[in-house]
């Protein structure tokens, strides 16, 4: 950004018929005799290389001129930003590593190592880390297999038979 002289800024504001009274380049402040809009000021001075400059107009709309600073008005406690009021939080699909498609009731976020993003969906029983489902059939139940330390699918009848014969 090039810095124009106060006279150049003053002339640009006067040419734009804005009510400027003083341009103070030492403090980078402009004073006006009546209210002006930020848009009008930008229109007048952007050609001087001030397009990237943030213009603060204290008191013009009652807006806080220093929103970058913490204070007790914007923050009910100095170390906390109330969610959704002072600091709005985004929807989860706005995160860069989340893809939401046709969201449905009781969907969960599941990481897909192929697409390298979290996607919505419902988990299958086989997705559990301590469960191994092999060719499920009618009448099978989930039972714990001590030899593999996993829950596996088996027929209940087979298990009862095993208990009966094993007990004799």
């Amino acid at each position: 950004m090039t810095k124009s002289t106060a006279m150049e800024v003053y002339n640009a504001l006067i040419t734009a018929v804005l009510p400027v009274t003083i341009v103070d380049a030492l403090n980078t402040i402009c004073y006006f005799s009546s209210s002006v809009s930020e848009t009008d000021v930008h229109t007048a001075i952007d050609s001087l290389g001030w397009s990237a400059v943030r213009i603060i107009i204290p008191g013009s709309s009652g807006a806080d001129p220093y929103p970058q600073y913490l204070n007790t008005t914007r923050h009910d406690e100095l170390l906390r930003h109330p969610y959704g009021t002072v600091v709005p939080y985004p929807a989860i699909e706005e995160a860069t590593d989340v893809t939401i498609t046709s969201i449905a009731n009781r969907d969960l976020l599941i990481y897909d190592e192929t697409s390298e993003v979290f996607e919505n969906g419902k988990i299958a029983a086989d997705d559990l880390s301590d469960m191994v489902i092999t060719t499920p059939e009618d009448g099978q139940a989930i039972v714990y297999d001590g030899s593999t330390s996993k829950f596996v699918n088996r027929k209940i009848d087979t298990m009862i038979d095993a208990l009966i014969f094993g007990g004799m």
Binding site: T5, A6, M7, Y10, T21, I22, D24, A25, L26, N27
Partner: protein
């Protein structure tokens, strides 16, 4: 030692937490103006003052005024040398800081077309004044180009008299140290030269008048100070 005047600094490096980087003493000499000039060992009313209070009848600042006719820019300057007149000796070394406080005042303008006053440059020169023959030798010199201005069509002091403090650093070395005082035969001087200009647009019917002030000791918020590391 006056605690409020002479301060000891122990600095910690933020990258290493507890490392002590330096230990030095720094004494501020305030630029001040006497109501009646001294005549020995030199004739001046501009002094460097170690221990406040200053001469209460002396001026607070040195001011120059210039006028520009329509369509023209006029330049002027304030060029003053301040001398530490206490002859009790001291020695200093290292980095000397000069803080120059300037006010630029847009004093008269055309109420429609306006005008501008500009602070162009500030020069600071450190000098050793030899008491025996009145000659000076240079310890350091620096010029800062500011090119900062105030423009407008009102002269209300609240808006049209901005003030700034410009920092100058001079490394005068540590070996040999610099000896000042009657025994050494030298006085310490700080020369400050401020150039400023005023501009009146061609369409203006009233000439623009600008004033520039070199602020000296009186108002604690607007001081010109030389900070010297005393050893």
């Amino acid at each position: 030692m006056v605690e409020s005047v002479r301060t000891t600094y122990i600095t910690r490096d933020p990258d290493y937490g507890t490392m002590v980087l330096g230990f030095f003493q720094e004494t501020p000499f305030y630029a001040a103006i006497l109501s009646e000039e001294i005549t020995s060992p030199l004739t001046t009313e501009n002094i460097l003052l170690y221990d406040p209070p200053a001469d209460m009848r002396g001026d607070d600042y040195i001011e120059e005024s210039i006028t520009a006719t329509a369509g023209n820019t006029t330049e002027s300057e304030i060029d003053e040398t301040f001398t530490f007149i206490q002859t009790k000796g001291f020695s200093f070394a290292g980095t000397v800081q000069a803080l120059v406080n300037i006010t630029i005042d847009l004093d008269t303008v055309d109420g429609t077309t306006g005008g501008a006053a500009r602070l162009e440059t500030i020069l600071v020169e450190l000098l050793k004044y030899k008491i025996s023959d009145g000659t000076t030798s240079q310890l350091g010199i620096a010029t800062h180009t500011l090119a900062l201005d105030v423009a407008g069509n009102v002269t209300t002091s609240t808006y049209a008299e901005p003030t700034l403090t410009e920092l100058f650093l001079f490394d005068v070395g540590v070996d040999p140290k610099i000896d000042i005082g009657s025994t050494a035969g030298y006085l310490l001087q700080m020369r400050v030269k401020v150039t400023f200009s005023v501009h009146t647009p061609a369409a203006a019917s009233i000439q623009t008048i600008a004033k520039c002030r070199l602020n000296c000791y009186r108002n604690l918020t607007r001081n010109t100070i030389l900070k010297v590391p005393i050893i």
